[in-house]
């Protein structure tokens, strides 16, 4: 099995997986505790419009998609703040419109058709040194920003009202978070693809939340779980010859169900013990 790592593309893929795990661990945690999963899905799928646009304009994909996603993210952040009761709908609209725009832009692009699949399902095996560099920069950025504003993010996530009273700049922080989500999403699309982004952002934090005692430990634990899922998913996809992005998500799903099962087993044991103690 060790000879698998003789291939440079496998080493790069593994590294990409690890970097994405760090990003997902941090951002995914904030997404899950702030209940921004649907919003993140909206940003991710709308990003597809940016991908299409970049091909139409013949400009670098990452750059154009980032700009496009930032605009979408800022619109969504504004809407969810001002018109909370309509935010669900607007997220849904931008989700669909973004994707549709992406498809139409690609249709209008002259020349050969770009492989949509690589963006829908990820192309971790084709990750380049440049991609890795970008991921390292994003990971460091996310780590530094979250570290710098940790107490504020914690306050906002746990009790937003109280945070406002303590003069925590909740609105700017929220916009910052949404922008970080956009940034992370664009980078992650490379690895697991658009369709599966939500799973990687939500499954590890969901499992971690049960066992974490602080937001910090939840982020660390999510990142570690993510690493486990991406690495094993990658190896599995190599040996079983299946799409890597999907394999990673399936491993994550198995992890999810195991965690649910353990939870149920332990609560049942605990209640059985307490029942027998009462008798």
């Amino acid at each position: 099995m060790i000879d698998v790592f003789e291939f440079e593309f496998m080493r790069n893929a593994l590294l990409a997986g690890l970097l994405v795990s760090v990003i997902c661990g941090i951002i995914g945690t904030l997404v899950v505790v702030n209940r921004l999963v649907f919003l993140s899905g909206g940003i991710a799928h709308a990003a597809f419009g940016g991908i299409g646009l970049s091909f139409l304009l013949g400009l670098p994909v990452m750059a154009v998609t980032l700009c496009f996603s930032f605009v979408v993210a800022l619109i969504l952040a504004g809407v969810t703040l001002k018109a909370k009761h309509r935010s669900d709908t607007i997220v849904g609209v931008l989700w669909a419109v973004g994707m549709a725009l992406g498809v139409i832009f690609l249709d209008l692009t002259p020349g050969y058709n770009v492989d949509l699949m690589s963006y829908l399902f990820g192309s971790i095996l084709m990750v380049t040194h440049f991609d890795l560099l970008v991921m390292v920069v994003v990971a460091i950025l996310v780590f530094l920003i979250t570290g710098c504003y940790y107490q504020d993010f914690l306050a906002m996530s746990y009790d937003e009202e109280f945070a406002r009273l303590r003069n925590v700049p909740v609105k700017p922080l929220y916009f910052l978070l949404v922008c970080m989500i956009a940034l992370s999403v664009v980078v992650i699309i490379r690895v697991v693809g658009l369709i599966l982004i939500i799973a990687l952002l939500t499954i590890p934090p969901y499992i971690a939340e049960k066992y974490a005692t602080s937001l910090r430990t939840m982020m660390v634990f999510s990142a570690l779980l993510s690493c486990l899922f991406t690495s094993s998913g990658l190896l599995l996809s190599y040996f079983l010859n299946v799409t890597s992005g999907a394999a990673i998500i399936m491993v994550a799903a198995v992890g999810f169900f195991i965690s649910l099962l353990l939870d149920r087993l332990f609560t049942r044991r605990a209640s059985m013990i307490s029942v027998s103690m009462d008798n």
Partner: protein, 249 residues
Amino acid sequence: MGPPVINVRKLWFSFDGQPVLKDVTFEVNEGEFLALIGPNGGGKTTLLKLLLGLLTADRGYIRVFGQSPRKVAYRIGYVPQDIHINQNFPISVMDVVLMGRLISSRARRRHSKDDKLSAEKAMGELGVWEHRDRQIGDLSGGERQRVFIARALVTDPEMLMLDEPTASVDTKGQGEIFEHLKQVNEKVTVVLVSHDLMMISSYIKSVACVNQFVHYHPEAEITAEMVEMCHCNVDLIAHGLPHRVLRKH
């Protein structure tokens, strides 16, 4: 009693087109222990949030410490109702209380030793120091409410605003908390929302009945007018024993 710390004039607030508070006018002086009573849905929590600057009035004038609420909210210790906060959130009791030490200047990134000592003192006074390392979601409702009170106290406030702070606490616990609030009241103005008059009547100094309108009475007494206006829980009040709340009639 000192000078007025809260000044409300002709305040109107509606939510989704429905009026919640109408033409509210009253003043609260420094050092008061004011109880906001009234039926559920009458606007008590809304009034509190307006005073904290968490909501903005449609019409009217609110001044707290002589300024607009949002500017001075950090000088108030707020104890919210227990219901709205996520109980699965991974956070220890200590970290919840330490949140009260987040100050306006964002200069510091970590909590100092002073912060931790202040938290220890407040938690000790409320009897929750032993729970400091436990997850907030593992505590009982009453223990959690004490933690929120401790959190409000570490902000070193000039005024305390509590929204049903003893809803999940047993009678003995309630008495302990109110004794503590009475002590705190020696230096700090207290505004407390409660739907239970029985317990608070021996501690409060003034009452306001909130039911879309606000009827304020600067004594710890419920007048017949108030009772009529807000359908307050009259059954719980008895003459003279152990507290006299109704004026003799």
